[in-house]
């Protein structure tokens, strides 16, 4: 760790989002396995994912995935084009901007059913668990 620079934050966010996404992947493998227990069990688990608290968790996951993806591109650019290190800070701000820009439409599609709006026309607007 080196203090107070954008490089430190980009590195820390990359680790934390990576660990968070991996943790979700393990949970996701367990919930997918539930399909082997039959229709009722699986559809109940999908209903949990459609509830508002888990929709909020999904949004956190989507934000983490987007940051990790864009910052991963930034890392690869510096790996293969070392002179780009001079622009690492500018690229960090671009990563943050792209994360927010891509997050907003995703947040609408995932979050709207909480408020009874169905952008896809077919959703269970489970505002309550």
């Amino acid at each position: 760790m080196y203090r107070g620079q954008s490089g430190q934050w980009s590195w820390l966010f990359h680790r934390v989002t990576g660990l968070g996404v991996l943790l979700f992947l393990l949970v996701h493998i367990v919930d997918i396995t539930l399909i082997g227990f039959g229709r009722t069990v699986y559809n109940d688990s999908i209903a949990v994912f459609a509830s508002w608290p888990v929709r909020l968790l999904s949004l956190a996951l989507i934000g983490a995935v987007m940051y990790h993806a864009f910052n991963g591109v930034r890392i690869i650019l510096i790996d293969f084009w070392p002179a780009a290190y001079k622009y690492q800070r500018a690229m960090f701000y671009i990563v943050l901007a792209l994360t927010i820009i891509s997050f907003i439409p995703m947040a609408y599609f995932v979050g709207a059913p909480i408020f009874g709006i169905c952008p896809q026309g077919d959703c269970t607007a489970s505002a309550m668990l």
Binding site: L26, I29, G36, P82, Y85, F109, P113
Partner: protein, 149 residues
């Protein structure tokens, strides 16, 4: 022993040392794998998110949705690729984090063994589901069907 990982030689450019290990062995391979799988996962994961959360709401991705989707082997292969690359990319990330923080070789080996076995277990769980799922059949029935052939 403590500086063992710090002393690992890396590729040096006119702009300084990079993270890329030289020597062409295991470390160089995993460095390349981390980047190649990362680029692959960007496309696989974003398409997965758009299919499951934008085109379709998550509440409409129940049993019948999966049955319809898995009638096409393409999506089983797609999900298997997502599962495998995601877990291996994540496992390599955990390995690098443990290299950073665990300085004692024995403890590091023990922790990395547990991480490896955990990931293998989850990979087997996911693969079992992706390969054996048949609409109207439970996992046990699918297993019995396979074993009685």
């Amino acid at each position: 022993m403590a500086t063992e990982t710090a002393k690992r030689s890396t590729r040096v450019t006119p702009y300084g040392a990079t993270s890329r290990p030289t020597g062409g062995g295991w470390e160089t391979f995993s460095w390349w794998f981390f980047r190649v799988s990362g680029v692959g996962l960007i496309f696989l994961v974003i398409a997965h998110l758009i299919i499951m959360h934008v085109i379709t709401d998550v509440s409409a991705t129940g049993y019948d949705f999966v049955a319809h989707r898995y009638a096409n082997p393409f999506w089983r292969v797609y999900d298997l690729l997502l599962l495998t690359l995601g877990l291996l990319h994540g496992l390599n990330g955990l390995r690098i984090v443990s290299d950073d923080y665990i300085r004692t070789r024995g403890i590091r080996l023990a922790v990395q063994s547990v991480l490896f076995l955990t990931v293998v277990t989850f990979w087997l769980m996911g693969t079992m589901t992706i390969v054996t799922f048949q609409p109207g059949q439970t996992l046990s029935q699918a297993m019995l069907h396979l074993l009685s052939r």
